[in-house]
């Protein structure tokens, strides 16, 4: 039996009889180095451990068996099929690992919502491998085990939500756009009414989609919880509803739900216009078939231009918030 050499360089060991050995440890999983599994550089290789006689009995030939020589003991490994991106062999666990379908149990304390719940199943060992037989255990992991191409519920939800074509609201405002001027115009001290014009699922919600991504079936629903109106004069108005659309019957009153009054003109603004920006605060809640759930906050925005003048004191035509 070979003894451990005294010196090592670059993973190759040579003793004083000019016999060289590869340096190894017991085979590990590819992480944290995805290019090596601890035994062989390059693509990860999957190893099944058993006794020497056990491996021979199961059909491997002597040439296919690798030996870890610990000096006072030996371990025997045979190369096996690594499996697929949904069920991949783990050298350290000695089982095929896969993300669990169905409802997951309550997440143990200490794990983040990003943690996944995985199965670990032994196999009917043979040179080709045959996953799906034998005792199964389950474990939680913060990271996706090496070799698996699956998504945790949180990652899958993020990917689904990223496809949502949410957009800013269609701004409803009194004053409305005057066709003759081509823009909105109002006056210092006159109420400005703000509302969401024609709210749609993609501008106000609820907007719901269900998709299966990376093995996770996710349902996500987006809903605006409020709008932050930046009026361009340094002030903001936060409204938790779509607001109230103005009609002439309201006269010169303030909006009961969402409005503003300017106290100075827009003459010092670029182009003599205030830029009014409506930022929608979206809350996107998601659930997965596994039972995991969460909330993602997003914003969208839209804007319009508004000219604010002063009312002259002589012969002023009666005005309304609509300009």
């Amino acid at each position: 039996m070979a003894t451990a050499p005294a010196q090592a360089a670059g993973g190759v060991y040579c003793n004083d009889l000019s016999v060289c050995y590869l340096t190894i440890s017991v085979p590990s999983d590819p992480a944290p180095n995805p290019d090596s599994n601890g035994w062989t550089p390059g693509a990860p290789t999957c190893y099944y451990e058993n006794s020497e006689s056990g491996l021979l009995q199961l059909g491997w030939t002597a040439d296919e068996i690798r030996v870890f020589d610990g000096g006072t003991y030996q371990r025997f490994y045979a190369i096996i099929d690594c499996g697929s991106s949904t069920s991949y062999w783990s050298n350290v666990r000695q089982c095929y690992v896969f993300m669990k379908d169905g409802v997951w149990p309550a997440r143990p304390p200490g794990y983040s919502p990003e943690a996944g719940y995985y199965g670990c199943i032994m196999f009917n060992p043979s040179p080709g491998g045959s996953p799906g037989l034998g005792q199964e255990t389950q474990f939680w992991s913060e990271t996706v085990p090496p070799g698996l191409k699956v998504l945790t519920p949180g990652r899958a939800a993020a990917q689904l939500i990223a496809t949502f074509q949410l957009r800013g609201v269609d701004i409803g405002m009194a004053p409305q756009v005057n066709p003759a001027w081509g823009h909105r115009r109002s006056y210092v001290g006159i109420p400005v009414w703000l509302w969401v014009e024609n709210p749609q699922p993609l501008t106000w919600g609820p907007y719901t989609e269900t998709a299966t991504l990376g093995g996770q079936t996710i349902t996500a629903t987006a809903q605006v919880t409020g709008i932050r109106w930046n009026m361009g004069d340094g002030r903001e108005v936060v409204c938790g509803s779509t607001g109230t659309a103005y009609s002439v019957g309201y006269g010169l009153s303030d909006s009961p739900t969402c409005g503003h009054r300017y106290d100075r003109t827009s003459q010092n603004q670029p182009g003599d216009r205030y830029t009014v920006t409506a930022t929608s605060q979206w809350s996107v809640t998601w659930t997965s078939l596994s039972g995991a759930s969460g909330t993602v906050n997003l914003t969208t925005s839209s804007s319009t231009q508004l000219e604010i003048n002063e009312i002259q004191s002589v012969n002023v035509k009666p005005t309304t918030p609509n300009g």
């Binding site: 451990a4 005294a6 992480a31 000096g71 006072t72 666990r93 304390p109």
Partner: protein, 206 residues
């Protein structure tokens, strides 16, 4: 078996990766604290026994105590020179039993790399013990017993286990002594005993 490829491992690498990480739990009953100074003579440890767990909390307590006992047993066996590893049978099974028996064999006979990188045959001296810091724990059904398998992830710290090789020099130390591991502890319904049966190295430090 002459055509078989033989690959030899550095003993210190193997030792550090396999067993230099051990730890002590701080929760649950601890029949023999693993941080206690081990007796120079290996004594048979008391096993963690009892009826099948009533619930997950009880199973977790028993599992943590079993890990503590395993590490305390290792400290005792190592301090006694590693010549009698029979004590492990009361607290470990399967892959873990094999690994800890191999550790004892290595302590008793070598070879172990010393601080100079020389591979030293012969009996080493060991002081201190591994320390395990559980991060969490959870149970699951195992061979018909509810919560008969408890998985205990945590940090295994090997920095307090000091080995002196047979030439009187300190053993080569693992440059990464704190590693994330996952202990698997099972309940044997026949013997009504809790046993550590696996220790998964998660490949990350802590």
């Amino acid at each position: 078996m002459t055509s078989k490829r033989i690959i030899t491992a550095l003993t210190a690498v193997a030792l550090s990766s396999m067993l230099l990480a051990g730890c002590t739990t701080t929760n649950g009953p601890t029949p023999t604290p693993s941080t206690a100074s081990p007796s120079p003579t290996a004594t048979a440890p008391a096993a963690i026994t009892g009826e099948a767990p009533k619930d997950e909390d009880e199973a977790i307590d028993k599992a943590k105590a079993t890990i503590d006992l395993l590490l305390a047993t290792q400290a005792q066996i190592s301090a006694a020179g590693g010549t009698d590893a029979s004590g492990y049978e009361a607290v470990a099974t399967g892959k873990t039993l094999k690994e800890f028996q191999e550790d004892a064999l290595r302590i008793s006979k070598g070879p172990i790399l010393n601080v100079d990188g020389d591979s030293i045959e012969g009996q080493s001296k060991v002081e201190g013990s591994l320390v395990f810091e559980p991060k969490t724990a959870y149970g699951q059904e195992y061979e018909g017993v509810e919560n008969g398998l408890v998985i205990v992830p945590g940090c295994l710290d090997g920095s307090q286990r000091k080995i002196t090789t047979a030439d009187g020099k300190p053993a080569m130390a693992n440059p990464k002594p704190r590693n994330e591991v996952e202990f698997h502890v099972i309940y044997n319904a026949e013997t009504k005993t809790w046993l550590v049966n696996d220790r998964i190295s998660l490949g990350t430090t802590c």
